[in-house]
Symmetry: D2
Subunit: 256 residues, 4 copies
């Protein structure tokens, strides 16, 4: 069963080193970074999953998956990597239909993973103190067609959270402990708080603050991902490894 690129849809072009580039077929002729000067209209009707040649490079054309979206996004701030987003989503028990809040939005990486988990009936509220981050993240979200699921607010999460009855709140700011009290107030009963922090001292202050509130199942994890290189010569862990991303602290609201 073959499928073809439709007019108006956004496709992902994947090159031989698996770099990913998003192109909307309705866009005008232009220079597309990593691809070259093209009229995107020529993609319409091409068979999905096939390799095409553009200039002297080859690309597979596919409908974008969430991993494409996460890997193809343009970064201005440090992002929460997919490996950590995966743990956040499951450990916060995020489901389709949920309402979740994140602060800050950064480049929108976690935002994309959250939208993917709650759409089409759920929603993501994203706070950030910096409008440049919000603008940049929105640009990424629009390219993915995800902006309709996200409400951005130029707001400091340590000052207030006005939403109520949230299923989960994820805090990635330098002083997450200052948002704990607001988070408790805004979570539904049984809802999850998650904080992401690179430093142990941040974890310690946050856990101390969490323990002053009615939370259970308070846990802190570090997720280490090792890639295994499998070749004809044999198998070994990759020499190239990211030594650390951040610590994830989880907690769950109860009444007493």
């Amino acid at each position: 069963m073959t499928e073809n690129v439709k007019k108006g849809e956004t496709v992902v072009l994947i090159d031989s080193s698996y770099q990913k580039f998003f192109i909307n077929t309705d866009s005008k002729t232009d220079k597309y970074q990593g691809v070259g000067v093209i009229d995107p209209g020529f993609l319409i009707g091409l068979e999905l999953g096939k390799k095409i040649e553009i200039g002297n490079k080859e690309f597979w054309i596919l409908r974008p998956s969430v991993m494409d979206r996460l890997e193809g996004l343009k970064r201005i701030a440090q992002i929460i990597l997919p490996r950590d987003s995966a743990h956040i989503i499951l450990n916060c028990s995020i489901e389709p239909g949920h309402s979740v809040l994140e602060a800050g939005i950064g480049s929108g990486s976690l935002t994309i993973a959250l939208v993917n988990a709650v759409a089409p009936d759920g929603k993501v509220i994203s706070y950030d103190k910096r409008t440049d981050f919000i603008d940049h993240a929105l640009k990424n979200l629009k390219m993915m067609g995800y902006e309709k699921y996200v409400t951005t607010k130029n707001r400091d999460v340590t000052k207030e959270i006005t939403e109520k009855n949230l299923d989960a709140i994820i805090i990635d700011i330098p002083d997450p402990w200052n948002a704990v009290s607001h988070a408790w107030n805004s979570l539904k009963i049984g809802g999850y708080l998650c904080t992401y922090s690179p430093l142990i001292s941040q974890v310690e202050k946050t856990v101390k603050e969490i323990q002053k509130h009615r939370f259970i199942e308070v846990k802190t994890y570090e997720n280490i991902q090792r890639e295994m290189i499998v070749s004809e010569h044999g198998t070994r862990p990759s020499f190239n490894m990211l030594g650390h991303t951040g610590y994830l602290t989880f907690a769950r609201k109860i009444i007493k």
Copy 2:
């Protein structure tokens, strides 16, 4: 905003060591493991999130989250742990509405995580060669109210996969390489195959077979989770650590 247990709903009772027990309020008076002899009807109307006393134990009552479902499930076979399920779901780009196939079903742990990710519009098809595993997993799924999203088939995935156009296929059997060819045929274009194997030799055979088919983005990962113990004395990694679960191999179908 307080909420109360409704007649007919299934709640989770969480004890002080965070063990989890599922009780349907319509069930009859009986001995419930870990809880004692109770008439579940007495739970109706109690406030969610509050601690109650049953016998000489205390429990919080909550609506079950997916983590409750994963941690409260009864095991007969080795399960895929939530840490790996989280990676499988995101790296396979599984979204609400997707159709995914897993083999085997085991105790239904990955099944629960998959249902949570694709419900209410998606579906999970679960193959297993052993009817006792299917029966046990279905019991777990029924307790969670998840059975309606799952189609079980007493079938050997290395013999055939009859479904077509699947978004993702996850293989957790001793010889995943024997299912690779069927998986390619049954995946949609751009769909993901994932295999889970504890042994390097399994990974090697599987990757070799994957490379004979039209797959891209073939990667093998190991996820290591470390818990951090945060106490008033200070912070350190937990002494108690699971040294290994399994290697996750991912691949994505293209046409050529």
Copy 3:
């Protein structure tokens, strides 16, 4: 070339699960833990490296190696494991002939590794506040024939270090930062300080104190050891893993 057990020597008996028991052939008939009631004299003349039967158990007889000494020692306190002792010795550049100080002595595990590295011309000075630890460690050292290389002192290392010109000082106490100043004074120029601490907060206080003194090459490491299980079925990391031992901080004395 065969060798035989000599009168007066201490041998190690290794059972099939590689538990290790030290026996001096001059000892009197007695019940030896893990071995049974034996007259050690019967071992004299037996061929080294051969399996013998005692009661219904089998043992290999060997001359003790340093790993035998480390694994066969009797513990009363938490020990520094061989994996960490190995790093301490090399990162402190300990050589045969060196004079090194450790505090506290604990069960004598690091002591044995240090003696092995500096003997026969070097020496180990061991401080401990607790005489019961010193007595216990000395019993272990005597069993190994190592007591002649060790000077024990019932002394608090945070109060004073009277030795001078030491090649290395290794501190394993709850408040290593209180010994840093004494350590600087007692090290030779270019000599190494090492502290071993399970908690991050201990590391932080110690590094802060070290930075007040003239030390260079200040580094903190964590060593994680994974055992690989190699069987006919294939290879995988061991499920059973110690998640944490302690952080090792190293620093090297300069003048200015």
Copy 4:
């Protein structure tokens, strides 16, 4: 107690990023890499441990420690890192006075660590098939004053080992399994074999061969070292991490 550089000795110059350069005070005026054009004679009489200025760079002068030797060595081949050398030495129970054999010599990194552990009464025998590696390693060893403890042989360890009664044999070649039989013959009773291999398949073939011989305590380890970054902002694992070095397999000779 101050100490001064003596005529004829080799000192290490350590720059502010802890790069290390060896200079013999008897050497002639020349351009020394990383240091500049100097007449090494001017170092004589300077106080050890003090910072000196050469050109526009600053250096500490010290007597070389074994870590200086390991970090200052010039590489042409992939080296066994100090973290692994440390484990090899302790797990092989290497002591002052021992006779140990390594193959191949590579750049001489493990050689230096072994010399440090067995000198002055022990000896290291180093086999290598390539004379260019031997020549390069000897140059490193001479710079350290270590060449007198090392016997190099331009020989293939998979063909024969002529030495007998060795305390330990360490094999770092692509096909260590081909040296196992020779190793058993050349080890003393109770002596240790260690093989170092990056690939799982190498470990598997080696362990299979080891199991055909009379060895006990066969174990395979992987050592993962994480550096902790301790700063005024707080503490975290380093982002920069070497993901893999090699697997270490140990085994110990018995007679039966």
